[in-house]
């Protein structure tokens, strides 16, 4: 039995196809066994007995909320502040300086966090940029976070984090500067929240709400959930949104090698990627 749980095999199949049709993501075998646990809170919230009953409700009812909740629960929303912080150090120094030179005329910097989940990564960049102060004086700096999960984006917008979340990766100096302690948790100050815009988007379909091509795209630990044809499509989407001279940031275990020819390893910055056509000098036709 593929789920390893108590539901019928057809229930798992329906749930997987719901996830795939809504997000493009595929459940790997090691995540399938967790599906029942992930969906437990959804069952409780909607008063549904088990996965078979959930599938029946999904198929028969027109409950948009139930569908959103079900899809959200099957997504992996794991994220934290300054994840792989050496990447942020490199970006803070080298990548941003490169982009500052490249965009010196337009004085515009556009950063897109694709698959931003609950927002920590976008807030990490926003704090870093704000602390660079003078470097961006007179610039239009946009930090945009998108995710397919309604629940994650609404949390990101609120900017409220638990004690566990706030102490994951966030240096204490930044915590006391940019967050207020409230009864409910640690709340991003208005001055931080206004620096980031979040929206619900399916990156395979929707065009992110950017005012200009993206100079820096974060797409970390998302593409690994796409099966190969979808992954190639996703890379093509990222390439279509990326500025000619731009950087792509993937997760620590991710690469473009053998995945796409849209991006190549950056010759400037180890660990980052750049649109391929910036690198390949095609021979001039004779």
């Amino acid at each position: 039995m593929m789920g390893g749980g108590t539901a019928s095999e057809s229930a798992y199949r329906v749930l997987m196809s719901v996830l795939e049709s809504r997000t493009g993501q595929t459940l790997s075998p090691n995540r399938i066994w967790r599906i029942e646990m992930s969906l437990k809170p959804v069952l409780q919230r909607h008063g549904i007995a088990d996965l078979d009953a959930l599938v029946a409700a999904l198929v028969t009812a027109n409950g948009r909320q139930l569908l959103d909740d079900t899809v959200d629960a099957m997504l992996n929303n794991e994220t934290f502040f300054y994840r792989e912080h050496s990447v942020f150090d490199d970006i803070a120094e080298k990548a941003l300086e490169y982009l500052r030179v490249v965009n010196a005329r337009q004085r515009q910097l556009t950063i897109w966090h694709c698959g931003v989940s609950t927002g920590q990564e976008a807030y990490s960049m926003a704090m870093l940029l704000a602390e660079q102060g003078e470097r961006w004086a007179g610039w239009r700096v946009d930090v945009i976070g998108t995710d397919v999960s309604h629940h994650a984006i609404s949390r990101a917008r609120v900017g409220l984090y638990s004690q566990f979340e706030i102490q994951r990766g966030l240096p204490v100096q930044r915590m006391v500067r940019w967050f207020d302690q409230t009864e409910a948790g640690w709340l991003a100050k208005a001055d931080l929240r206004r620096r980031v815009d979040f929206s619900v988007q399916n990156m395979l379909i929707d065009r992110p709400p950017l005012a200009a091509p993206a100079d820096l795209i974060f797409c970390r630990n998302l593409l690994l959930y796409f099966a190969m044809p979808m992954r190639q499509k996703a890379f093509a989407r990222l390439r279509a949104i990326a500025a000619p001279q731009s950087f792509l940031v993937l997760g620590a275990g991710e690469t473009v090698l053998g995945q796409t020819d849209q991006f190549v390893a950056s010759p400037r910055l180890r660990g980052l990627y750049e649109p391929a056509d910036q690198q390949v000098r095609r021979p001039v036709a004779a």
């Binding site: 912080h85 004690q163 566990f164 102490q167 994951r168 990766g169 240096p171 204490v172 100096q173 915590m175 006391v176 207020d180 302690q181």
Partner: protein
């Protein structure tokens, strides 16, 4: 060479848990049960990092930091200080940072949380 950590806490259980986590991260671990013991240790040794409890008898974490800041480590870098607390108050955290702590971690902590904090202060 492995890094070293001085665990300062009046609770034997906390010291044991911290030692277990730190040793699994290949740290050499020493222990002190209060600020005074810790100060004595730091006059003769230079750990890379100090995990410092706040509430302790004899000499509190805050009092320890006051004396610790006056210690002379010569050409060596001052040990980093991560203070541990159960008091989840931003004023409390601010006071500790102003007193010279580099990071904080809430008790009880797990390996991942502690490792993240040690990375933030550059010793993991």
């Amino acid at each position: 060479m492995s890094k070293s950590c001085l665990v300062v806490d009046d609770s034997k259980v906390i010291r044991k848990v911290a030692r277990h986590i730190l040793e699994s991260m290949a740290f050499a671990v020493d222990e002190a049960a209060d600020g005074q013991e810790a100060l004595r240790f730091c006059r003769a040794n230079r750990p890379d990092v100090i995990l410092l409890d706040w509430n302790m008898p004899v000499m509190s974490g805050m009092e320890f930091l006051g004396a610790f800041n006056d210690l002379d480590f010569g050409h060596d870098e001052r040990p980093r200080v991560v203070f541990c607390t159960t008091e989840n108050s931003i004023d409390h955290i601010r006071a500790a940072i102003e007193a010279g702590a580099d990071e904080y971690v809430m008790k009880p902590f797990d390996r991942e949380t502690l490792e993240g904090k040690l990375q933030l202060v550059g010793v993991a």
